[in-house]
Amino acid sequence: MSSMGVIMLVHTAFGRAEQLARHWSAAGCPVVIHVDKAVPKKTFNAFKLALADLDNLHFSKRHRCEWGTWGIVAATQDASELMLERFPEVRHVYLASGSCLPLRPVQELVDYLEERPNTDFIESATTSDVPWTVGGLDEERFTLRFPFSWKRHRKLFDRYVALQRRLRFKRKMPNGIVPHMGSQWWCLTRQTLSGILEDPERKRYDRFFKRVWIPDESYFQTLARQRAQVIESRSLTLSKFDFQGKPHIFYDDHLQLLKRSDCFVARKIWPYANRLYDVFLSAREGAANPTEPNPGKIDRIFAKAVDRRTRGRAGLYMHSRFPNHGWENGTTSGQYSVLQGFSDLFEDFESWFAKATGANVHGHLFAADRVEYAKDQSVINGALSDSAEIRDYNPRAFLTSLIWNTRGERQCFQFGPADNQELGWFIAQDPNAQISVISGAWAVPLFRSNRNFHELRKEAAKLQRIESEFLDVLRSPHAKARIRIWTMADFIENPMEHMQTIIDEIGFKSLRRLAEAPKMNDLTGFGQFLQNLKNEGMHPYLMGDFPVVGNLTGQPQPSPKPYLVR
């Protein structure tokens, strides 16, 4: 007979429980089974009968085990007493459930424990040190009373907790013991376990813990601290919990992961995971070099799942993630640049900027008649259409989709007062947006156009009003984007310096320095054009001051050679 006994708490999937009980028993481990009292008598009797041929297996007194209540502790106590009494050779008692599965040959676990004859494996941490618990009850699990069922009378449960909080009700720990919590699944030595069960103060402790919330995660975890010689504060059972405190379940496709974890026992296993049961319950060779359990990789996978469920992927809007305003964890999925006025001032600006930054540089994505994608495409990543109607139907979905679809590739687009302005606030509040504005540059295409003056005047007034509103948004204290605004006059005084700032921030590391400056449109006569507008009573001011005649402010005459930036 083995020096390790196994207690199994069972309430469902009896076929699997029977298989497991036989597995433990066949390895020489005595087994004591507790079956939840809620299980119908007929089912229980059939289960008992099925295992009647095993002489190292007993059934303990049945308790009703509702989640979070004392019944599970009472069941464990009785089963432990029976185990210690009936099987005197047992040195370690392993607490398991019907959905636990041994991943390594049982003998390896027995050997492991025999090498550590005085060690208790029980996760046990003080409440103040770990922020594990879900739902905010940690220390209060001990200090409040919980007469109402959390599952069946949730409202009463919550109200009673709130009431006690208001009354500042607090229970005292008996004998000044320090509350500890941890995984329900432990492996204790005979010395420690019998010490807890035979403690002269046990009645007092039991009375206290009967009113503690989820005592199966604290009763043995707290009292073992009073008794144990050596505590290894970890569970030998691999058991992961999700963000609601519900155990993760293992399926057939976790086979390789579980094999490589080198853990002794894992839970919970889905009862229909046939492959897992077949593989792990068949006789197997032990590892050549018995190793320590290493659940690191499994930990990471489940931690990622929790993160996905609670924080999600930034900038993604889909049918199971549609965050309320302010809860997006990032309204877009990546950084992008919005350029206003640049393509008005410079010839063929988009292709120049694309070369300088390595980014995908679009035209006016929000132009009135169609979406001006880079390279004049009619559809781009994600099969986004260039239809202005579709874009304007839900501009926010359009932009967030564009940024999401092109993850990993920087997007830049031209923007201006002639475009759909609906997303002004959205962009301004997005920390992923880099917004650069040369204000008043919209006047350049008007100046160069061949239209009737009264039309131009009307258009200029409209564009100036719209741009001015957008600038107000950008200057609002609520704006979170990286924003730069120059008047056109300021910008052309030293265009390459400003341009370099924008490009550096985009962070494209080109091997070559910018060799060539973009060519500025010929502005001869622009000052006079602005003066004409003024003479008509329309005062353009967003572009700054331009002299009516002669040279532009500080700007050399259009030189035959473009600038060189060093």
């Binding site: 049918h319 099969a383 986004l384 239809s387």
Partner: protein
């Protein structure tokens, strides 16, 4: 017409569908859902004359009802199915899908649908979202004939990955999703008329529940909260919609004539107009379907906290 409901066990997963003249699709449809673990099929046959009814009546795990009445007046089949579900589906997990819809969920290549429903039960989740993803072939949709028993995804293996538009429906609390190839081609001048793609096809049924409009939304409203509003992702799947086979052109013409579809068949009119000239939904940025993991990475579905 054929009632096999006596065979249903208390834990069985049920599937409900309406169909009309889908004989050619039925063998693969039944095979697909049997393989992922559906135990029993409830099918309302709307006056088929292509042998579909006879075929269904031969199936031991299918119960069939027949009606010659108006699809439109039954609110597009919802009333028929609500009645059947009220009667037979209480406390069962139920899938409601059309014969051209294939349910994809996280880990569907390694875990049967019961793994999902067990997990939903354990998580106290009662309804599960699966957006409709329109699939289409490369080239003219009538270029490759569909053979009975064939996986339609062999032909309609392409989809639009990132052009969906979502709004919240304040009245029922559900999301309203439009987009995909139909919005991109048929409705580019009037995207507001593009069909809804939000669907909640998997529900732990209770006789007090009801679908309001197709499987787009449910009552009580809480069942429509299949999405997270605080930044996280809930687990969700996709319904691969294989409508655009070579059979579609004929079907569109027939349905247009019958006038039995939503909003005075505006959808079918738009199809008929566009498809006549150039029946190709494929574009340079169409994505070819590989598996659920691809859809997850693209953000069209999510594992949520199921791992």
């Amino acid at each position: 017409m054929s009632d096999n409901t006596a065979k249903i066990g208390s834990e069985d997963i049920l599937l409900f569908s309406t169909q009309r003249n889908e004989r050619i699709r039925l063998p693969y449809f039944l095979k697909y859902y049997r393989e992922i673990g559906v135990d029993h099929f409830f099918i309302v046959d709307n006056d088929s004359d292509d042998g579909a009814l006879e075929y269904l009546m031969e199936q031991p795990d299918v119960s069939v009802w027949h009606t010659a009445r108006s699809y439109k007046r039954s609110r597009f089949g919802v009333d028929w199915l609500n009645w059947l579900q009220m009667k037979y589906a209480h406390e069962h997990w139920c899938l409601v899908v059309d014969p051209d819809e294939f349910f994809i969920y996280p880990f569907c290549d390694t875990r049967p649908v019961r793994a999902l429903t067990d997990w939903l039960d354990a998580s106290s989740i009662k309804s599960f979202s699966a957006m409709l993803l329109d699939m289409y072939p490369k080239g003219r949709i009538d270029a490759q004939p569909y053979r009975e028993g064939q996986n339609p995804l062999e032909i309609t293996s392409w989809f639009d990955s990132g052009n969906y538009m979502i709004e919240k429906n304040g009245k029922f609390g559900n999301l309203w999703i439009q987009g995909g190839p139909r919005a991109r081609t048929f409705f580019k001048e009037k995207p507001g008329k593009a069909p809804a793609l939000n669907k909640i096809p998997l529900v732990k049924w209770d006789r007090r529940y009801a679908y309001v409009s197709s499987t787009h939304m449910l009552l009580p409203r809480g069942l429509n909260l299949v999405y997270d509003e605080w930044g996280g992702e809930k687990a969700s799947g996709v319904l691969l919609h294989t409508k655009f086979l070579d059979t579609f052109t004929a079907k569109a013409a027939e349905e247009l004539e019958r006038g039995q579809h939503y909003a005075a068949s505006v959808e079918y009119k738009a199809y008929a107009d566009t498809l006549k000239d150039d029946p190709d939904l494929w574009c340079k940025w169409s994505e070819k379907y590989i598996n659920w993991r691809q859809l997850e990475i693209l953000g069209l579905m999510s594992k949520g906290n199921w791992a």
